[in-house]
């Protein structure tokens, strides 16, 4: 079974809309969704600040469908990540690399779907939810 590291843009969007690709990956079979404590801290912070109270219940429901890694941010890895991605995204990139998942799923195509990120995170692959759905449904 393939493991998928879910970033905060995807969890936030799944909370925000039940009909998008981000929500759909939570019902896909044959994959294991994983995330980290930093990602959950960032997502919940933004759900509380940007969305409504009922969204928080949906956030908790979606978190129940993921495995939460016990890993803590690796400052050395974050510094390395800063060399290939905007500083604002370096923590998430480092977290995903540390997770040793098969895929990193994100909605930030502009910053994550680049050749330098791809090289940094290898053998892990960066995908959007839509790309992940296509791959899984083809199998």
């Amino acid at each position: 079974m393939k493991t998928v590291f879910v970033d905060s843009s995807v969890i936030f969007s799944a909370v925000n809309s039940p009909t998008g690709g981000s929500s759909k990956i939570f019902i896909l079979k044959k994959i294991k969704l994983i995330t980290s404590k930093v990602v959950l801290t960032e997502t919940e912070r933004n759900v509380r600040e940007k969305l409504h109270e009922y969204h928080l219940e949906r956030f908790f429901m979606l978190v129940d469908k993921m495995e939460i890694l016990k890993q803590l941010p690796d400052n050395k890895l974050i510094q390395k990540a800063k060399k290939v991605i905007a500083e604002k995204d370096s923590v998430i990139l480092a977290e995903s690399k540390k997770s040793v998942a098969n895929f990193l799923v994100t909605l930030d195509k502009k910053h994550f779907l680049t050749s330098s990120v791809s090289k940094f995170i290898k053998p892990q692959k960066v995908l959007t939810p839509k790309m992940l759905i296509e791959i899984i449904e083809k199998r």
């Binding site: 801290t41 919940e44 912070r45 940007k50 839509k130």
Partner: protein, 90 residues
């Protein structure tokens, strides 16, 4: 507590023996008062009510935010949320 006919009383009947009923409630043993056959109110042990309120507060306090990790996080901009919404559409 299992709801059974013994702890369901019409309000009209309860009025005259409110003192006795208040003595009967303890911990999770409460009495349901009905009006026109439907549950309307309950007589509940005050400490049990406080316990329930605390449980509700705890449930709402559920959080995955780790204060030590907040420095690694950022606030999303409205602009990027809109971009994500567009990208997320199937």
């Amino acid at each position: 507590m299992i709801i059974n006919p013994l702890n369901i009383i019409p309000i009209t009947r309860a009025r005259s023996k409110l003192g006795n009923l208040a003595e009967k409630v303890a911990k999770d043993k409460y009495i349901i008062l009905t009006k026109d056959g439907s549950p309307k109110a309950a007589i509940v042990d005050i400490s049990y009510l406080a316990h329930l309120e605390n449980q509700v507060k705890k449930a709402y306090k559920k959080t995955f935010i780790d204060p030590k990790l907040l420095r690694y996080t950022r606030e999303f901009t409205d602009e990027e949320i809109k971009v994500w919404e567009k990208e997320d559409a199937l």
